[in-house]
């Protein structure tokens, strides 16, 4: 059923200078990526950054304006049908048939992927098992809770054992426990050699990926493992500052010397500074001088969210300079 990807190619997905324009708007701006077999690759970025557009081009649903991409050894522009037979795709919005039963949705996709008759019952069994929906075959899909639907959608997308799967924000709108279970499934598949390309805007989910690309305004602004990104991309060290009131503190600190960036995180501030040890007393004094109550200050390890904020502001200010 599945054609083997080209043997010499150890990359499941290769993207070269991929561009997608909608009129004047550049949704995807010269993206280059190589994703290895069996990798869980995260595509991280805010809404509208170009994540879904990229994934849709890789699935052959959108024609690239320019550039090339190969998925499982096939060119997405020239051999979209071969691409489709070798991928599983879960779109952002839940898009199975709500008026069909669980089993009917599974049978439909088994048919669409031409699962041969002698393997049909085995694949259906496997899908129900994987999606943890055994015994629920005859429920109407529309009545399932969000997490179940998500697992069913994943099941239908992978029941033909594709070597590459694309998941577009698979866990949006799903409760945290279901989300955790979902990621366990993704890792399980990756261990079996499946390449997983997943987009998300949940920072904590990004940590589950082997490698990450941060996409912002159609451009990839950083690429690496989560820990690499955290170390490399921060231009300095990170301080957590508890103070009152937060709003004016951010304003004041943004113009303070030695502070590269300041942002609110929960009920505290995160400051990017060149040297944490030197900065702590200075920040303390600076805030007191501006009659802001200062609590605890400490050096912390940056989270991906910090990395993301830092990179996107860097990107923005660079743009402003060139503009």
């Amino acid at each position: 059923m599945l054609r083997e990807p080209m043997p010499e190619d150890n990359n499941s997905v290769v993207i070269e200078n991929l561009v997608k324009r909608f009129g004047d708007f550049v949704a995807v701006d010269h993206i280059n990526l190589e994703i290895r077999k069996g990798e869980v690759f995260g595509f991280l970025g805010p809404n509208g950054a170009g994540k879904s557009t990229t994934i849709r081009m890789l699935c052959g649903l959108l024609r690239p304006t320019s550039g090339r991409a190969r998925v499982a050894g096939y060119d997405v522009g020239r051999e979209p049908e071969s691409v489709r037979q070798n991928i599983g795709y879960m779109s952002q919005k839940f898009s199975l048939y709500n008026d069909l039963k669980v089993i009917e949705n599974i049978r439909l996709f088994a048919g669409l992927y031409s699962v041969p008759a002698d393997k049909l019952s085995e694949r259906i069994e496997w899908t129900l098992e994987m999606a943890n929906l055994k015994g629920q075959e005859n429920l109407i899909t529309g009545t399932l809770p969000g997490g179940w639907k998500q697992r069913l959608a994943l099941g239908c997308a992978v029941l033909h054992k594709p070597p590459v799967i694309f998941l577009d924000e698979p866990t949006s709108g799903v409760d945290p426990i279901s989300r955790r279970q979902f990621w366990d499934l993704i890792h399980q598949m990756a261990e079996e050699g499946v390449t997983v390309f997943v987009t998300t805007h949940y920072m904590e989910e990004a940590e589950y990926c082997n490698r990450l690309a941060l996409i912002f305004r159609g451009k990839i602004v950083a690429l690496g493992t989560p820990s690499e990104l955290k170390q490399k991309s921060m231009k300095g060290e990170l301080l957590l500052v508890e103070c009152e009131p937060l709003g004016s503190a951010v304003e004041v600190l943004q113009s303070a010397p030695d502070v590269i960036d300041a942002a609110v995180f929960g009920n505290a501030l995160h400051l990017v500074v060149r040297d944490a040890a030197a900065a702590i007393p200075q920040v303390q004094k600076y805030l007191s001088d501006h009659s802001i109550k200062v609590g605890h200050i400490e050096k912390i390890r940056p989270s991906l969210e910090d990395v993301f904020v830092s990179l996107t502001t860097a990107h923005d200010s660079e743009k402003e300079r060139t503009a």
Binding site: Y89, S95, D99, E104, L108, F109, G111, L112, S114, A153
Partner: protein, 377 residues
């Protein structure tokens, strides 16, 4: 073309139709309702027209004349009034469609051998009914008049020669001049327009609206497999409905069926492909269920209703409209229906309808096939 994928799509579509009460009603009940509605409701025959009379004479002769009106199947003398205002009122409020006034000297003048007249007031707001009513009223009075003449002559001992020339009419095809026989066969075209174009216009648009299309086209299924898989169930349903409607027409409304049943099936199948293709094409370009269904009704149901010759004879239309009807597939199908039901025209003589219908079938099927692409933008 993979049969497995086609079957997967078709099976899914059938389950969706069976699970949707709205579609089921349209598929199973609507055709029967339409046939009954048009069979009973639309009656172009004039029968039992309500008539008020004002008999100012009140003689044996005037009663004889009025009895002839009552005896005619076309009129129903519902009330006798005693003054003009009551008669006028009955026409104003629509209780009567015709008022007949017999003058006070009616019998007197007849006895004296003088020409006399009765007045007929006709509600002309429906010109068609009025025209027919006037014709029938004239015929009734004419008959009465010639009987009087004959009697008059006989009473004077004259040898009476029966009328020199008469018309011996024989009505062919629709012997009893039942309008249901004229209308009901054409209902098949309406039913198919609704099933074919209206229902299918929703199928693709619905998938775009619900987002299921994106998942569907991410699989290896081809546009042709999607189209055939989606349309096949509707084709079967449409043909089933055609047969049901034909049976109701033949056995319930006693519409004669004189042609070939095979020709009925073949021409219906062609027209089914026409409306399915149109519905599919509309669905592809409209991308929203609301827009698609409205366009579908506009381009299939309305022309089938108004311009196909189903109710209104094409020969009676203005020339421009007559030309427009030539590009309507429904026109050819309705024509075939009327010919094979009533006339029993041999299939070979139907080529003037069947050939254009076949051309439309091919062209629209190709249009539909090429309209759908597996791309989001």
């Amino acid at each position: 073309m993979s049969f497995t994928r086609f079957l997967a799509v078709a099976r899914k579509e059938v389950v969706q139709i069976l699970r949707d009460a709205r579609s089921l009603i349209i598929v199973l009940i609507m055709p029967v309702v339409l046939v009954l509605l048009f069979g009973y409701g639309v009656n172009l025959d004039l029968k039992g027209l309500p008539v008020y009379v004002y008999d100012r004479d009140g003689s044996q002769q005037s009663q004889d004349l009025l009895k002839r009106f009552q005896a005619s199947a076309y009129f129903d003398v519902v009330r006798v009034v005693n003054d003009y205002p009551a008669l006028t009122r009955s026409l104003d409020d629509g209780h009567a469609k015709m008022g007949i006034v017999v003058p006070w000297d009616f019998s007197q003048r007849l006895r004296d051998g003088l020409p006399t007249q009765v007045q007929a007031l006709v509600d002309g707001s429906d010109d068609n009914t009025a025209n027919v009513a006037i014709g029938y009223a004239q015929a009734v009075v004419q008959g009465y008049s010639s009987d009087i003449q004959l009697n008059w002559l006989r009473n004077r001992g004259q040898l009476v020669q029966p009328a020199a020339v008469g018309v011996e009419t024989r009505t062919w095809y629709n012997e009893d001049l039942e309008s249901s026989a004229f209308i009901v066969p054409g209902v098949l075209a309406l039913v198919m327009s609704v099933i074919g174009a209206f229902l299918t216009s929703l199928t693709i648009a619905r998938e775009w609206e619900r987002g299921t299309m994106e998942q569907l086209i991410s699989t290896p299924v081809t546009p042709l497999e999607i189209m055939l898989g989606k349309l096949a169930p509707y084709f079967v349903i449409g043909m089933f409905d055609v047969i049901v409607c034909a049976l109701i027409a033949i056995f319930w409304f006693q519409v004669p069926f004189r042609g070939s049943f095979l020709t009925l099936l073949v021409s219906s199948a062609m027209f089914m492909v026409v409306v399915l293709s149109l519905g599919f094409f509309i669905s592809v370009i409209a991308k929203s269920q609301l827009a698609a269904s409205q366009i579908a009704l506009l381009v299939t149901f309305l022309p089938a209703f108004l311009l196909s010759g189903f109710l209104y004879s094409i020969e009676q239309m203005p020339v421009v409209l007559q030309w427009i009807t030539r590009i309507l597939p429904a026109r050819y199908y309705v024509s075939v229906l009327k010919k094979i039901f009533l006339k029993g025209t041999p299939t070979a003589l139907l080529y003037t309808d069947l050939v254009p219908l076949a051309v439309f079938t091919l062209v629209l099927a190709m249009l539909a096939t090429h309209s759908f692409h597996k791309r989001l933008a």
